[in-house]
Symmetry: C2
Subunit: 108 residues, 2 copies
């Protein structure tokens, strides 16, 4: 077993993306998180486990409660992957500008 997990698999599930959204700013307990979804608390706990394994979220114990919060560093990995494609669509935007520029000169 011990499936190799990564951030891309972590954000593939819509429930996990929702969890990420909820604990981006404020840390929350599994119980509080589960209250936001239709599924069982244990199901949410499993999603949390995946997120922790991928190091997308970090935990902090407070008595019998456990507070989970987003770790932005891992989110940057997705950003870095996107980086190379971002320059492509910016390039395309430049090309579009070139086309517009040419049309403008044509009109003159």
């Amino acid at each position: 077993m011990e499936t190799r997990r990564d951030i891309f698999q972590a954000i593939a599930d819509p429930t996990r993306r929702a969890i990420i959204g909820l604990i981006a700013i404020t840390a929350m307990t599994p119980g509080d998180l589960a209250a936001h979804f239709n599924t069982s608390r244990q199901a949410i706990s499993k999603h949390i486990k995946v997120l922790v394994e991928c190091e997308v979220i970090k935990q902090r114990n407070a008595g019998r409660e456990i507070l989970y919060q987003l770790d932005l560093n891992k989110m940057k990995e997705v950003d870095e992957w996107l980086e190379k494609y971002r320059c492509l669509w910016e390039k395309r935007f430049d090309q579009l500008e070139n086309v517009l520029e040419k049309l403008k000169t044509k009109k003159k």
Copy 2:
């Protein structure tokens, strides 16, 4: 069946991310793509199908060949999702700068 797919599920698989990387700039046929992997051509075709269903790539017929190329618009969806978190880590960077600033004034 007819699983509801989205871009996040599309990029979850490492093989599909590799395909995306290969056809980002130049369009390629399934056969040419398959030559880059250890798996069968049909397996690659399945990945392509997922990517097409998610509208991450677009196809263009050329005789009996089919050319696939990345559609950057869908990639932007990931970028837009990241947008809200990006401002968070930039904010954190600002806070770090504030800390450094305070330390500097303390030294004076």
